[in-house]
Symmetry: C2
């Protein structure tokens, strides 16, 4: 299985600390050695880095750690291949354009019977279940909404579609659309909110600490979403199975019942 | 105006020598300082690096030069903004998926009246004329061909569509699709074929030479396509205005009249 990392932040923020621990799970502290990727939202578009090398030894991952990029939305993924060979085409996050807007998707889980995308508007380039699920999701969204809906309309549809796909296996995912980050849990997903008063955090995967009160202003606020907690001494909240949350500006939005 | 660089090669090959000279035109030996991008074909998908920084000073461009990637098809672009602000969303090459295959597009020129993409299948994320032209082209292709056509069928349509867009301004472009590289000239484009017997080449933009007989085998063959010749002592051929060429495995294909 794979691992997910997402960030939603009020102000453009640097995810280097979280990514430093996370990318070590790709072949060093974890077994997720079949590629990795990270996407940074930069108003209207996303900057994506992908590599089919293990993230723990990837020179590109080192470049991303050493040249941190500030962003309000980030989606990262490290892969442990279940379906589809180790190949750039099977490396998350995936990207498509709909309504002149970019969509970014990363999946943790395994869909035993992936959806059939033949004849759909969006079709997979690679061979893994995750890209098929993304193409199927986005094709359904495009069919229901000829134009961009509200976030609540989209969330209602997404929840239905995710429930349908979850019948085929585990389907935890992060989906980026404009300034929103959708996070869906079927088996395991955690989040935490960092806001004032900031304190020191210690990475679970490396002997590294950071005092967030020194790098943030009192106004800052960010949500970190991950397959497993990345730090030892912060207040991580588990998602419930079947739960979909939307994050904007570092906070979860309230969804209508 | 911008500058284009393309490569089609029989064997996966390193474009570092050509890119070394080319990327200096982005703010050092040239005025094309409004972003750059490069896409490498890796069987089924493309690896893309984009930056809105001038390529001559971009740390990512330095990374690409220092960690050369072997590929059979490469499309690179350095931007001098004519329409659309300096922004990642306006940085070439652009990418879309059609029929489960990736399409990569870069443009040199200026379309005074860009095509209207409203309601089309593919819509621009940014604001520049080039992405609008790409979305319009690909939407027409998707409408005419519900499934992938032959390369000759595609070339015939592409020639018509390019002629139509050329009425609005200059429209030199490179288009990557699977293992094919389409190159269209409206005002200026050059190509050369490198094959045995290989000799030494000297970059026009830097005091740098390479002896291709030492880095290639006699079987190797590659085409380099560029807005302006990149070397001083090789046999560059100009495209004719209105000419569309398709390259595969380092050679131009013969097109039906």
């Amino acid at each position: 299985m794979c691992q997910l990392l997402g960030m939603s932040s009020k102000a453009p923020s640097n995810i280097a600390f979280s990514f430093e621990g996370f990318h070590r799970r790709g072949g060093s502290t974890g077994e997720h050695a079949d590629g990795w990727g990270i996407a940074f939202f930069e108003e209207h578009t996303w900057r994506i880095f992908l590599d089919s090398q293990p993230s723990a030894v990837s020179r590109l991952a080192r470049f991303v750690c050493d040249h941190p990029i500030k962003s309000r939305n980030v989606i990262a993924h490290i892969r442990k291949a279940t379906q589809g060979e180790v190949h750039l085409a099977n490396t998350h996050p995936f990207r498509r354009e709909l309504w002149g807007q970019e969509w970014i998707f990363a999946h943790n889980g395994n869909l035993v019977t992936p959806p059939d995308c033949e004849g759909l508007r969006f079709q997979p380039v690679g061979t893994c279940d995750s890209e098929k699920a993304f193409c199927w999701l986005l094709s359904q969204i495009a069919q229901v909404f000829p134009q961009a809906p509200t976030e609540n309309e989209l969330a209602a549809l997404l929840k239905q579609l995710a429930a349908h796909l979850t019948q085929s296996g585990s389907f935890n995912f992060l989906l980026g659309w404009c300034d929103l980050l959708f996070a869906h849990c079927s088996t395991e997903l955690w989040y935490l909110i960092r806001k004032a008063p900031f304190s020191e955090a210690h990475l679970a995967d490396a002997d590294l600490s950071i005092d967030f009160s020194k790098v943030n202003t009192p106004d800052d606020c960010m949500a970190i979403i991950a397959t497993q907690p990345l730090t030892r001494n912060e207040n991580w909240h588990p998602f419930l199975p079947g739960e979909l949350r939307i994050f904007r500006n570092g906070l979860p939005l309230s969804l209508p019942a």
